[in-house]
Symmetry: C2
Subunit: 232 residues, 2 copies
């Protein structure tokens, strides 16, 4: 700054000075529209669920989000980074799993977790996982993001419900809560992308009544059943 600078200019710092001070750049020009971020990431997840990582092209994603590719690449430097971000942010929108039911019985709680909206959302997430599957074997970070966003919150919620039932004495303390809480998510994945059967309320209820609750039920304590003679 020159000697001619007025005091006024010195006392009322310009935006560049503010930027330098606060580390929050006040940039010239049109501001970035951050609602486009969500639109692009959402389009990514849709395409991912439909055709998988390798079948997904940036042109299709941009077109579906009604965005130019320049807008996409201004935000993420590559397809891989965009997908990673899309998967990571799925984790945030899980209001369902935060407020757990408390009906008085474990069965009531498990059944109460089945709501039409969560069925649709869970199926979409499972399909996203399937779309990532072949990529996950090569990309460790992506596998962890997928697990953290799709499966782990679900397992965690079920574990809390089961642990609470164990603490209340509704199920025996010896129950393997850690293993059983993985049964529903893993069999859901098996059903959605191997069996390709509908992921609906009936399926989950029969899983709860046919596998989960029986596995947690108190049983003969250390009463080894007598071996039958081999049925040769």
């Amino acid at each position: 700054m020159t000697q001619d600078d007025s005091i006024g200019e010195f006392e009322i710092p310009n935006d560049r000075a503010i930027e330098a001070e606060r580390g929050q750049p006040v940039r010239l020009g049109r501001k970035r529209d951050h609602t486009r971020d969500a639109a692009i990431l959402d389009a990514s997840l849709d395409v991912l669920a439909e055709v998988g990582y390798d079948g997904m092209t940036m042109d299709v994603v941009a077109a579906r989000a009604k965005a130019g590719k320049g807008t996409v690449y201004r935000r993420w430097s590559s397809k891989a980074e965009m997908v990673l971000d899309a998967v990571a942010r799925m984790e945030d929108n899980e209001a369902d799993l935060e407020r757990l039911p408390d009906t008085g019985t474990l069965r009531g709680d498990l059944v109460a977790m089945i709501r039409p909206s969560s069925l649709v959302e869970s199926e979409r997430r499972l399909k996203v996982m399937a779309g990532l599957a072949s990529m996950m074997s090569r990309h460790q970070e992506l596998a962890e993001a997928g697990n953290a966003a799709v499966v782990e919150p679900w397992v965690g919620a079920l574990r809390v419900l089961m642990q609470r039932a164990a603490d209340c004495g509704e199920i025996p303390a010896s129950a393997d809560v850690e293993a059983v809480s993985q049964v529903i998510p893993s069999m859901a994945a098996y059903r959605v992308f191997i069996q390709r059967k509908p992921f609906d309320r009936d399926f989950l209820v029969s899983l709860i009544d046919g596998v989960v609750l029986p596995a947690l039920r108190p049983g003969p304590v250390a009463a080894e059943p007598a071996p039958r003679s081999p049925t040769s």
Copy 2:
């Protein structure tokens, strides 16, 4: 045939005539080496398990099998057909699942199915499935081939063991054998390509003792546990 044809020519037909009659062409030239088929399909499965369908290139498969691409395309008209054949033929090599153990107890049978060679083979098959996953959502035929080759024989073997135990009265007739027989394969898939933890004997034994056998165990018959008051 003309009137000049000798009787000899008529009675000893040439190879072309044999071909026409039997529909088994007797072709000129070097014969196709069918041991190359297996080498190429095996290389396909290896590459498929490593990098997935879309990451797999025909050049790499041919090179790994020490074959030229011409040799490959003489056998299958496209990458998709080759992979479909490779997956379908996996189904045949399942000697393990044919001769089921019969130890006298269900637990003994289930544990007896865990052998080092079957662990390795199962893990490879699960990785092949993972490599196909994103493709399966688009290609119905491939999804069915994968299921028939990898999962269904495994589920089927477990179902037989469990059904036999039910018939012998070792487990209650009310047990949901159909659902429980899917637990081990689906949780194995979950472990291998989502959790990415080792697929070993300890995992399977703890699954048998922590989930499968408890779920099949006789329990309080229609004894609804008293609801606790919600833990508000």
